[in-house]
Amino acid sequence: MSALFDFKSFVSTLALFVCACTYVKLRAPGLIDSHRTGFRGVFWKAARVGERLSPFVSALCAYMAVQTLFG
């Protein structure tokens, strides 16, 4: 089944999504910044979270890495 129905998988997918959006914004800001509302606004919001709350996203990634391996 899709990862969206399993909470653990969903959280790690969300962490990977936030990371990916952050990297895209660092590389090509115009691609993300040009659409702040609607469906494409989701990418902008994720990128904003990734750059402002980077220590927390990092901690979440590390925690989910341990959970994936041993949990």
Binding site: M1, S2, A3, L4, D6, S9, S12, T13, A15, L16, F17, V18, C19, A20, T22, Y23, V24, L26, R27, G50, E51, R52, S54, P55, V57, S58, A59, C61, A62, M64, A65, V66, T68, L69
Partner: protein, 79 residues
């Protein structure tokens, strides 16, 4: 433990280091290459080694975009 969980775990670990923002997080704590260049931190000390690892991981950001997208796609479609 399968190769797939190991791959996900490794990807999340690399992301955990690479996502740290230089300007907003690392610069305030003196964890950028700048503090090695200006001589305030020795490159061979434990702190210097950590700075080196974080700096190296920041070069992985572009390949990580593709790897994250692939893993997200596989997880959403196949579970």
């Amino acid at each position: 433990m399968t190769l797939w969980t190991l791959t996900q775990s490794a990807l999340l670990s690399v992301n955990a280091v690479a996502v740290l923002n230089e300007r907003r997080f690392l610069a305030k704590r003196g964890l950028t290459m700048e503090s090695i260049r200006d001589g305030s931190t020795s490159a061979t000390s434990a702190r210097g080694q950590i700075i080196g690892v974080i700096n190296a991981a920041s070069y992985l950001r572009v390949p990580l975009i593709a790897l994250n997208a692939i893993v997200i796609f596989v997880k959403v479609v196949f579970g």
